[in-house]
Amino acid sequence: MGAEPGAEDIARLLVPTDFSAGSERAWAVARRLAGRLGAELVLVHVLVEAPLYSEGPFTMKRARDVFEAARGWAVKTLGEWTSTAAAAGIAARWVLRTGVPYQEIVGAAARERADLIVIGTHGRGGLDRALLGSVADRVIRLAPCPVVTVRDTE
């Protein structure tokens, strides 16, 4: 079958999450796969900073408060999700970034030298099915490694 890397070489799975139902399913798939392959999980969330900073000192303070609250909640939730993997004996850690989600995800995959990305998509039927989820779509096109997409609906 040649010298191309196979499953044996999948040591690290990067799992981007926006804490949606789709990401939760992707996290479950990634946990099962990591368990089977003996791979490490890196959960990554990208915070999008609110663009309100030029509205004067009062608004700026409020925006910062909101942003800090969002960051705090993300940190707590990342910790909870990571511990579900750790409880099953799977090495897992989390990374929190701020910026444009698809760029940060692709960047994190490169930096962490991820062998695989497991990402949720918004798989809607009917008229909305054109919306794959622009983040997942861009990640598939630009990622430095293969990507597993997991739809949010069964």
Binding site: A7, R36, L37, A88, I140, A143, C145
Partner: protein
């Protein structure tokens, strides 16, 4: 812990399919899961002009089928030698439709496919077949780019 129980790999026999096939086989081995290798042949439309059916059309179709099945068997032989349980599925129709149908029928829980086959031009284009499968598949889809990763 079972990761994937039934893996489906659609192939168009192109170079773009090769890395996806290797991934599929390696994952099947790691998960002790059987692998189904699917080829979808799209028969050329026999209607060239006003209801003109070339007399050789049926013959061409037979030859194309035979050739596709032979190539599929060759792929299977290569995978089997690596110790993976593998079977062939041959279908005719539009690739994305048939891939989604085969995945449902085989109750596949993972599809492993290349992101561009014969019509791909750059890394910014996923390939229309992969794109539809990613959108519509009920099971997870592992997309493997042909070059650069």
């Amino acid at each position: 812990m079972t990761a994937f129980r039934r893996i489906l790999h659609p192939t168009d026999f192109s170079r773009a399919s090769a890395p996806a096939l290797r991934r599929a086989a390696a994952l099947a081995r790691a998960c002790h899961a059987p692998l189904a290798v699917l080829h979808v042949m799209t028969p050329p439309s026999p209607f060239i002009g006003e209801d003109t059916l070339p007399s050789s059309y049926a013959e061409l179709l037979t030859l194309a089928r035979r050739s596709a099945k032979r190539r599929l068997a060759a792929v299977l032989g290569r995978v089997r030698r690596t110790g993976v349980r593998v079977k062939a599925i041959f279908a005719e129709g539009l690739p994305a439709d048939e891939i989604l149908r085969a995945a449902r029928r085989a109750r596949a829980d993972l599809i492993v496919m290349g992101t561009h086959g014969r019509t791909g031009v750059s890394r910014f284009f996923m390939g229309s077949v992969a794109e539809r499968v990613v959108r519509e598949s009920r099971c997870p889809v592992l997309t493997v780019r042909a070059h650069g990763r």
